[in-house]
Symmetry: C2
Subunit: 192 residues, 2 copies
């Protein structure tokens, strides 16, 4: 990957000249931030500050993928998703991933392998998503919170890929992680 251009580097280290917390909720806060730039007006924006999250791609020994159907109150509909959850205070992404995989799907992972990291909506939200591949899975029982409405679905990889290609999935992190996983597998097959 090419180095970032110099004029952006100079800004990147500056940080904001003013932070002000506007609102605090159990899951996120909102901050007003101002950034100085020489020769320009200051940049002023409101940012949703989020602790970060983890998404897990759990694959069983027979190749099936552990997916969930998750009712999302935020958008008032059910979405097909990979299991995921928010970092709790003091947790590493790996710990969050192991905990959420067990709680949401009832599977414990023998091996967790980092896949990629990305920002879910970097124009407005600081949320950084950490993706792991989970393998050597053992069933230990689902532990849902009272507010969670989640159904586990064990699905053949080919079925999942077909749904992805048709545009059936509407959760961004699920599309990103499944898409990259299938592309990497196809690249490995070509190179084998």
């Amino acid at each position: 990957m090419p180095a970032p251009p110099e004029q952006f580097d100079a800004i990147a280290g500056t940080g904001s000249i003013m932070h002000k917390r506007l609102l605090c909720t159990p899951l996120f806060s909102v901050e007003h931030r101002e950034f100085e730039r020489s020769g320009h007006r200051p940049v002023i924006l409101q940012v949703v500050v989020h602790p970060g999250a983890v998404v897990i791609l759990p694959i069983l020994a027979d190749g099936r993928i552990v997916m969930i159907r998750n009712y999302r109150y935020t958008v008032e509909r059910e979405l097909w998703e990979l299991p995921a959850g928010t970092l709790e205070p003091g947790e590493t992404p790996l710990e969050t991933g192991r905990r959420e995989l067990e709680e949401e799907t009832g599977y414990r992972a023998g091996v967790m392998t980092p896949l990629l990291e990305f920002y879910t909506s970097p124009g407005v939200l600081t949320e950084r998503m950490h993706a792991f591949l989970a393998t050597e899975l053992t069933p230990v029982g689902q532990k849902l919170q009272d507010s969670e409405r989640i159904q586990v679905e064990l699905m053949e990889g080919e079925v999942v890929q077909g749904m992805l290609l048709r545009g059936d999935f509407m959760d961004g992190k699920t599309i990103a992680v499944l898409g990259l996983n299938f592309l990497r597998r196809a690249a490995e097959t070509r190179n084998a």
Copy 2:
């Protein structure tokens, strides 16, 4: 795609029993919402309400992809991205896509083809992302806003796919749209 389970359908139509706006900013608002569920405690959550956004995959006649390097104040770093932007009042996603493509990259699209739609972070944010493929591109000149720090990069498809596979991209929508595009092209090649 299988039909959603009945117990979720019953909830999906209900809507929240209480909405209260906690904060309003130029780009988003924050609402407190409560949902009733028979036999359970009400579900209470805070939601970041967003007007929706558009991401564009612009492909030149020679196959090169028009990407941008975009300095994001929210996460205080530069990201490689596909051009994108937020719906303005009264705009359709198609209009937003054409406008943002011109403003950010300086290309006008002859053809815009819908690719997919998804939620960027449905646990916290209502943002729905509309993705379009833009082709038959004509250069008309970039029109950046004063706060935007964007550099256009014309990149070979193979280079972009290599960067994607290595995990070089950190913008969720860019990973989702590029991944699905490359997977669909690979599926078309196999079926041809």
